[in-house]
Point group: C2
Chain length 202, copies 2
């Protein structure tokens, strides 16, 4: 095992880790080589030797955040049976993910969307791609629920994915701005209402 390489890997991981925490508190836009170096207790050149630009840092932070969210919120849900059980599992995993975030910690994709929607470039692209991939995953699972006969044939997967994503945005707003934990039960009521509307009335 190459000890130098391992040490360098560990340091890069701790830089990204500090970057995620900072971005969750004050936004992706607050991330610079200098601010993250301060936080992690390295010199700026120590960070630069591992991450060559501010943009690379921001994107590495987004990618690692997405990886964790996928691992914790999505992958376990994908083991549920195809169709409606899996859609429910993804929904529950997503709400749990939002709930488990520390108070004061924002979803980097939701806050990143607002920060970067007007700023073309690789950071905006990374935010866009991350949110678009979740949307596709939702729509795909809805489509499978239709194929499995759990939802009506005329249910619109993109419409339902839009509505579910909207509810998550509402939860994020109510938890973070209003500090109102009733958002979780409201999200469940909204999910059940939507699903009941498109369920096969068998």
């Amino acid at each position: 095992m190459n000890t130098e390489l391992t040490k360098s890997g560990l340091t890069r991981a701790s830089i990204i880790d500090a970057g995620i925490a900072m971005a969750q508190e004050t936004g992706l836009e607050s991330l610079t080589i200098g601010t993250v170096a301060d936080r992690v207790g390295l010199s700026k050149s120590g960070v630069f030797s591992r991450i060559s630009s501010r943009e690379e840092l921001q994107i590495a932070v987004l990618n690692e955040y997405a990886r964790r969210m996928t691992e914790r919120a999505l992958l376990p849900a994908l083991r549920a049976p195809r169709g409606l059980p899996r859609l429910r599992a993804i929904w529950n995993g997503w709400l749990d993910w939002v709930r488990d975030e520390k108070i004061g910690s924002s979803c980097l994709f939701i806050s990143g969307a607002v920060e970067y929607d007007d700023r073309p470039g690789p950071v905006r692209d990374a935010v866009f791609n991350g949110l678009a991939e979740w949307r596709r995953q939702l729509a795909r699972t809805v489509r499978q629920s239709i194929d499995e006969g759990h939802l009506r044939q005329d249910a619109d997967p993109e419409q339902i994915a839009f509505e579910l994503s909207s509810i998550i945005l509402g939860v994020h707003n109510d938890i973070r701005l209003f500090r109102d934990a009733r958002a979780f039960s409201r999200a469940r009521v909204a999910f059940d209402r939507l699903l009941a509307d498109v369920a096969l009335s068998s």
Copy 2:
């Protein structure tokens, strides 16, 4: 008429105007006496003589934005008959308001919520109060719709206000990040689905 006062009033209005445009492009957090002075072509001291702090500027910008939105999106809707017609009018006015924003112009309350949800102080309070007031207005109109016999007695006004607000957040995201105008028709489908679910099945 006091010409000096009028001129000073006009200048203050043009400062606020420039502040709204800037905040819609790059966020409330980007507003400083210096950046807005540059934009409006005044010296910093020229701005300072009318607005005494950065915070006063940010709050004046939010208040003026809220005033315009109320005037354009809410007040005309309040002339619709009490109950469901008024709820529909508010909904349409709200979607029209979002649609009429210039491309690249964000709703200051939606972006402000993400920028300030973790930063206690008067700006966060102003964002909080503005969004809470809209939520109360929606819930009140739903309650009136129940009283008028347009919606079921067991409909939950706060739940419905949460769901409607969530859909608007979804529209804002899809329009601004995804540049996907189908968000408007999806919002209407979501509204109709929700209302059908709580309508009196007469």
